[in-house]
């Protein structure tokens, strides 16, 4: 489902060159729940961004759903992200000016679907994360856990095959963190492939496979 071959990421400034990822080779199968761990600054988020087509590698090949993306243009990349990928961010990244329902509808805006279809799918996604009673609320009216559940609903509303979660429990207390993890596990049982960056060993142990990074190199 996700394949990375000899991926490198180099950040260059006029004065310095930093190797953020070094020769990463990765193969994530359909239906797997993989966690990525490592100390701060080791390249976890960079790797997730490259898998999610949010950033491009300096070298190497990225394949999503069997499609090599290095020659894809903006429109094709956008289409692939929209169809195949769902994102959950540590800091939620909800749009404060939009209601919960409107936030969840965002991925569907970039597909050909009617307003009624969008509304129905967004309601269904919010029901899945237990927030059907908060649809008309705004993000500022929600707790951290509720915000992350809205973010999960947004990530799954388009029924993507892959969910990428960047420290989804990082801003939550442990009880709330466990709740979020349990939602992700249920999504995985329903067939979603999940790649999650985490700092938390206990969380990582609950996934199928652990990838460990150190200074941009895959050590496990």
């Amino acid at each position: 489902m996700i394949k990375l071959q000899h991926v490198e990421k180099v950040y260059r400034t006029s004065a310095i060159e930093t190797l953020a990822l070094n020769n990463i080779n990765l193969d994530v199968q359909k239906g797997e729940f993989v966690s990525i761990m490592g100390p701060s600054g080791c390249g976890k988020s960079t790797l997730l961004n490259i898998i999610g087509l949010l950033d491009e590698p300096s070298r190497g090949v990225v394949e999503i759903g069997g499609r090599r993306v290095e020659k894809y243009r903006d429109r094709e990349l956008a289409h692939l992200r929209n169809e195949k990928l769902g994102f959950i961010f540590q800091s939620f990244h909800l749009i404060n000016d939009l209601s919960v329902l409107d936030n969840v509808e965002i991925p569907l805006l970039y597909r050909s679907s009617s307003a009624r279809q969008r509304r129905a799918l967004a309601q269904e996604a919010l029901e899945k994360v237990g927030l059907s009673n908060r649809m008309k609320h705004f993000p500022k009216q929600l707790s951290g856990g509720q915000k992350q559940r809205v973010a999960i609903a947004r990530a799954i509303v388009g029924k993507p095959e892959i969910i990428l979660a960047d420290e989804p429990t990082g801003n939550l207390d442990s009880a709330m963190g466990n709740e979020i993890l349990s939602i992700l596990q249920n999504l995985n049982k329903d067939g979603a492939t999940i790649v999650m960056v985490t700092h938390d060993d206990a969380m990582a142990k609950k996934t199928h496979r652990l990838i460990r990074l150190f200074d941009g190199t895959q050590v496990l």
């Binding site: 903006d74 429109r75 956008a78 289409h79 961010f89 939009l98 409107d102 509808e105 970039y110």
Partner: protein, 414 residues
């Protein structure tokens, strides 16, 4: 999608009320100036009362006579006789009206002096123009042929001279420059900006002091040629210029020999521009000046708004990142922000429209321009909508382009 964009644009407006106020203030003020200016240009050049046939009329206002060396030039209106011989008899127009330019006179009510403008006209003047007769009727060919001392007066003059706006005055006598005239009709006055029709008193051209019998080409008269249709303009002009070209030169007038004779037969706008700007290429000069003024009025605030919009849009970097991450292509985002900007601009346009109506009413009722009838008609409204659109695009495209090219990872970092 559009609802979503508009909903968000509205929320963004409410997010920083003071910021929004400043933005809308700038947009509204700029658009108000442009709308009032458009309305004024429409008032000057459009087909309005009583010159509602302006769009199918040609104007013959000036004759230029030049000697061979080009050192002596005489320019001015023409004689009644010239216009009768060379214009009135044209075959292609529907009708031709001859009238004098505005003359100044005085009338007295007791010891009180009333300053007034007068015009001598033929009977066709009342057919080519669309005056509202509040009382009575216009003088006709029989009155003119009989040399009747009659007059049509404006409602303003009626009030000034007779002291009452409501009492009928048809049949009463007025005295102007020691001559008595019988009032035949009272018309709603024409604005002072409509030089071809504005006057307080209209006399038949056979009335005293009209000088209609002057010989020579130059004099005090102009002609308005009414075409059946705009498409006849070319034929009318050709017929007229052909006649003028047959006039034998050199001509002698006032003791000077003139070898070149030029008389223009033009639309109102061309004639107006020719009056205020002489020489070849005057249209290009006029358009350049108008273009520069519009650029100053529209371009500079738009550039300023670009800066405001850039900082405003960059505040929303995280939103841009999220939208891109979930599949928004650059072009879609570009349109989102342009639509948002157009939405704000059109709100500013709405405010400007209200302000323009207020300002126009103030101008119309202030008496600064007699009988001013500035309006927001369809032309002015469509120009205003067009201006809003251009302003919105001008001030929205650049920030939207800059924003939509942000890298997703950078945008998500805010």
């Amino acid at each position: 999608m559009l609802t979503n964009y508009l909903k968000l644009a509205w929320k963004v407006l409410l997010r920083h009320p003071f910021y929004t106020f400043i933005t809308l203030f700038g947009i509204s003020l700029t658009l108000t100036v442009l709308m009032v200016l458009t309305s004024f240009l429409d008032h000057l050049l459009g087909p309005h009362y009583p010159e509602t046939n302006r769009d199918r009329s040609l104007y013959i206002q000036m004759m230029t006579q030049t000697d061979t060396a080009g050192t002596t030039q005489m320019k001015g209106p023409m004689s009644f006789r010239f216009l009768t011989d060379y214009v009135k008899s044209l075959q292609t127009p529907e009708r031709v009206s001859i009238s004098s330019v505005m003359n100044s006179s005085n009338a007295y009510v007791g010891s009180q002096k009333i300053k007034l403008n007068t015009k001598f006209t033929d009977a066709d003047f009342w057919r080519v123009m669309a005056f509202d007769f509040l009382e009575g009727k216009p003088y006709n060919e029989q009155n003119i042929a009989a040399g009747d001392q009659v007059a049509v007066i404006s409602d303003d003059f009626k009030k000034e001279y007779f002291g009452s706006a409501s009492e009928p005055v048809v049949g009463k006598t007025i005295e102007i420059e020691n001559v008595h005239y019988k009032v035949m009709g009272v018309v709603r006055g024409s604005p002072v900006t409509r030089f071809f029709t504005h006057a307080k008193v209209y006399f038949p051209y056979t009335a005293p002091k009209s000088n209609y019998q002057n010989t020579g080409f130059r004099g005090n008269y102009i002609a308005i040629v009414l075409a059946k249709d705009q498409s006849d303009f070319k034929a009318i002009q050709d017929e007229f210029y052909d006649r003028v070209s047959r006039i034998p030169v050199p001509q002698y007038e006032g003791g000077t020999k003139y070898d070149v004779l030029k008389v223009m037969n033009e639309t109102y706008a061309d004639n107006f521009l020719g009056t205020i700007m002489e020489g070849p290429g005057l249209r290009a000069v006029f358009l350049s000046i108008v273009g520069f003024i519009v650029f100053m009025l529209l371009g500079l605030p738009a550039i300023n708004l670009v800066n405001v919009n850039v900082s405003r849009i960059l505040e929303r970097a995280s939103e841009i990142g999220v939208r891109k991450a979930f599949g928004a292509p650059v072009r879609t985002l570009l349109w989102q922000f342009i639509i948002e900007n157009l939405f704000i601009t059109f709100i500013g346009g709405g405010i400007a429209l209200v302000l323009t109506v207020v300002i126009i009413q103030l101008i119309n009722h202030s008496g600064w321009i007699a009988y001013a009838d500035l309006t927001i008609n369809l032309t002015v409204f469509l120009v205003s909508v067009g201006v809003c659109f251009v302003f919105g695009i001008l001030s929205g495209v650049l920030p939207a382009l800059r924003m939509s090219k942000l890298k997703i990872v950078d945008a998500l970092k805010g």
